[in-house]
């Protein structure tokens, strides 16, 4: 069973709440995904506005745990302040820490990320850092006090799937006991299966479901794909071979000539 900061979870899918055609479609997708954690964000509320309240009511009605993010933050102080405000609003020490370093790729500023993680851990946060697949950065984040790592497999929203399986394998191999969640870049259920087969503990995705023609149906597809990948990993996968190996035994074969 997956355990994140002491919370035991049956589902290995974390789902974002953005970009759905409507709140009811989002709620349906969350339900059919089987997820127990959804990600949310914080934005400026307009005077007299009630948008945030209506959205929050929908999220609360889903009965799932909330993981607030610092999406869109481009600096350490901005990310830390957003995390603190999220903690008060959502009443949780969990924070998905994003410190963006590049506008085009939304690649994390890994230097700022480590610094922000260290500050937030020091203030009692349980940090889920959105990072790259860089092994040394992963090590620094763990040294900063993170107990979970969330490397990307491709840029956010790219739907490109795992671009560097070797790097992902390397992180998995170096940190066998750290919960690893692939966050960002997943486009298809087969991508999710692929990273789960590598031994990752969970997948966080949003656009691949929200942007599908039928988000609810796609949410179910991802649920099944992630479960399949996990079971395959636990069962033990065959390594590819260059030459054929007969599956039917040769011993006892009749000789007709």
């Amino acid at each position: 069973m997956l355990e994140l900061y002491g919370t035991k979870l049956s589902s290995r899918l974390l789902l974002g709440t953005a970009r759905y055609p409507s709140p009811s479609i989002m709620a349906d997708a969350v339900s059919r995904s089987g997820t127990e954690i959804v990600t949310v964000s914080l934005r400026r509320e307009t005077a007299g506005g009630r948008n945030g309240g209506a959205f929050f009511d929908t999220v609360r009605s889903l009965g799932v745990k909330v993981l607030p993010n610092t999406a869109g933050c481009h600096g350490v102080s901005e990310a830390v302040l957003t995390a603190k405000m999220a903690r008060e609003l959502f009443a949780t020490d969990w924070i998905k820490l994003e410190v963006i370093g590049n506008h085009d790729t939304l690649q994390p500023d890994v230097f700022g990320l480590v610094e922000a993680a260290r500050i937030l851990v020091g203030e009692g946060f349980q940090v889920f850092p959105y990072t790259t697949d860089d092994l040394v950065v992963a090590e620094r984040l763990l040294e900063a006090g993170c107990k979970v790592l969330m490397p990307w497999c491709a840029p956010i929203g790219s739907a490109a799937g795992p671009l560097n399986p070797m790097a992902l394998r390397s992180i998995r191999a170096h940190f066998p006991d750290v919960p690893l969640i692939v966050d960002a870049g997943i486009g298809r259920p087969s991508h999710a299966t692929a990273v789960m087969e590598l031994g990752f503990d969970a997948v966080l995705l949003n656009t691949a479901v929200a942007g599908a023609g039928d988000p609810g149906l796609m949410a179910g597809a991802f649920c099944a794909a992630i479960e399949a990948g996990r079971k395959a990993f636990e069962a033990g996968l065959l390594e590819p071979r260059d030459m054929a190996v007969p599956s039917t035994p040769i011993i006892g074969k009749a000789v007709f000539s």
Binding site: R44, A47, N51, G52, G53, F56, L81, T82, M85
Partner: protein
């Protein structure tokens, strides 16, 4: 008094953060606030005095990935 509220200059006669929220028609328990880069918790808004040119952030939950 001149204040910067969510990045916009405002002229508001509010002595405290709580008064500012009321004057600008913010209500509900889904708001998080900060003044000059420091969070101000809900229970402190009524005693948090505002000064000219203070930068106030008023945030609420939003969809996120």
């Amino acid at each position: 008094m001149k204040l910067i509220v969510n990045g916009e200059p405002k002229e508001v006669a509010a002595a405290t953060l709580e008064e500012l929220l009321a004057l600008m028609d913010y209500e509900g328990d889904w708001l998080a606030t900060a003044v000059n880069g420091e969070p101000v918790h809900r229970e402190d808004r009524s005693v948090h005095s505002l000064n000219t040119d203070d930068r106030i952030e008023i945030l609420s939950p939003m969809q996120g990935g």
